[in-house]
Amino acid sequence: MATTDLTPRFEQAPAAQGHAVRLFGEWTAGQFARPHLFRDLLRTLPRAGAKLAWDLREAVLLDHVGAQLLWDHWGHRWPEQLEVLPPQRAILERVAQFTQVRPRRRKTRAKDLYLGFGALLLRAFDHLKGFVQLIGQLTLDLRELARAPHQAPWRDFSGHLYRIGAMALPITALVGGLIGVVLAYLTAQQLRQFGADAYIVDILGVALVRELGPMLGAILIAGRSGSAITAQIGVMRVTDELDAMRVMGISHTYRLVMPRAMALSIAMPLISAWTTVAGLIGGMIAADLSLGISPLFFMRALPDAVRVSNLVLGLSKSVVFGILIALIGCHFGLRVQPNTQSLGQGTTASVVTAITVVILVDALFAILFSNVGI
């Protein structure tokens, strides 16, 4: 790299003149941005303690970073002989005044881990308490709704129904259809070995109607709408809108939580039925291609293979999933602190919790209703 006259550099006088060090160029952060320059300077600068004479008058510029470099190099002491211009001295003095050794951060000890674990448990308990309170408040709001149904926020409700339900139709159909295709191809491989080709209708039917349709729909909606609910309510917290609402005497749960929970409890079973149908169509096409089972046969065999109770179970599960996703989304949204970082954390936690809870509750349903419909 070419050395321009702005490059920070130094010259050391011969011993006869007491090894005085003269600085040239710009001793600024902008110059130190060049690769290697800073390291080379540090390595070559003479380190003779306070005995050396320093002359900064020929340096074109000295900024705080340059001054910091010199001050550190001098070992946080003024050299005995120092020639500086008044502005340079002002900067050096400021650096000298404010430089201090920062206390080292304490290392984590076993006790901190223990306390951290305790705090984690308390936080989990606090979340649980908040969630129960939310459900309780929602119950009270439903009583309010029953008393004066014409005053309920129906506009919000229909808006959420559209955004959460109708807008999710394309993505759920795509995912459901593709999962149906994958499932059909995989089972077809196995069934062909036993010559049990016709049973693909049973496997696809039961799996999709009872489990996969509602689960896939719920997981997609948890990711899509659960996060949106948390973010919407969280942004309202960050911008003080929630407080403004409270000042007007409007209940958060009545205006924000209830319409969303109601919309999801209706949209979720519909979405899950839609996803199931898409999955069955995908599976039907794949079965036709891989096993030669015609769509006509598939549709005729389906009602015999899958009893209606499976469909009822799947749809009622979906209602529970929908309400849980809405409540978890609202719960985390209402707990967001008024800063952007908390908003991001809340949204992530909301989605993760919603998906985990959906899977947990699904397992619970599977155990409770293991003798229904099969």
Binding site: L6, A29, Q31, F32, L37, L42, L61, T99, Q100
Partner: protein
Amino acid sequence: MEPVAPPRPHGRNPMVEIHKLWSVFDMPDRRLVIHKDLDLVVQRGEVLSIVGGSGSGKTVLLRQILGLEHPHKGHVRIMGQTVGQLSGRGASSRIGMLFQHGALFSAFTVLENIAFPLRELKTLPHKLIVEAAMVKLQMVGLKPADADKMPSELSGGMIKRAALARALIMDPPLLLLDEPTAGLDPDSSDGFVNLLRSLHRDLALTVIMVTHDLDTLFELSTRIAVLADQRVIVNDKPREVIAYRHPFVEDFFLGERGQRAMELLREYPFAI
């Protein structure tokens, strides 16, 4: 290779030179012309305040100087260079910007925020970066104990101070301020104005600020530029600007709220 650092205050070019600038925003239904043939020159060492009614494009002008908006026509030169030449690596050694709400990175502590531009150079050792950031932190009047706080734990005045420290970490010769005292109580506002004045003196800064606060305006400015009718109608010393005949100027300075601040003008001969 060109030196990374720019020519400093001893250079001959004016600090900022705006020539025939047009700022145009294309709306769906119409075309919004904010600036039309706007000219503005800021000399080194000035404290220039930009005033104007709301929607007159004060913040847009700051954003043009910063290169955050692209001029529709005309050009903006800073120290004789285009904004494009100035941006990129080490940009904070050339221009410092204090955004209205601080714009501190919320995921970093105060110290990490201040040290961020230095750390991004990737050439300086960690110890020096921390020390330099601590110096700036105390220079703007924060306490060493504030270093490990998160931005969400700070008050409005502390956020402005931390953001100012971050803007100044590489000692840029040009500092832009967007509403430096908006949202501060009178006490912190006065403290902040004093801080800005001493920094301007000590660091030989050129300052361009947008402000509505008449106290700040008269206490700090060496020049005032008035934006109206899509251009700079007057750019002069405070006393001359007040005497300028224009409906906006008369309403802004000679209205009731202007009277009190005018007292200050007599008290602070510095501003003249």
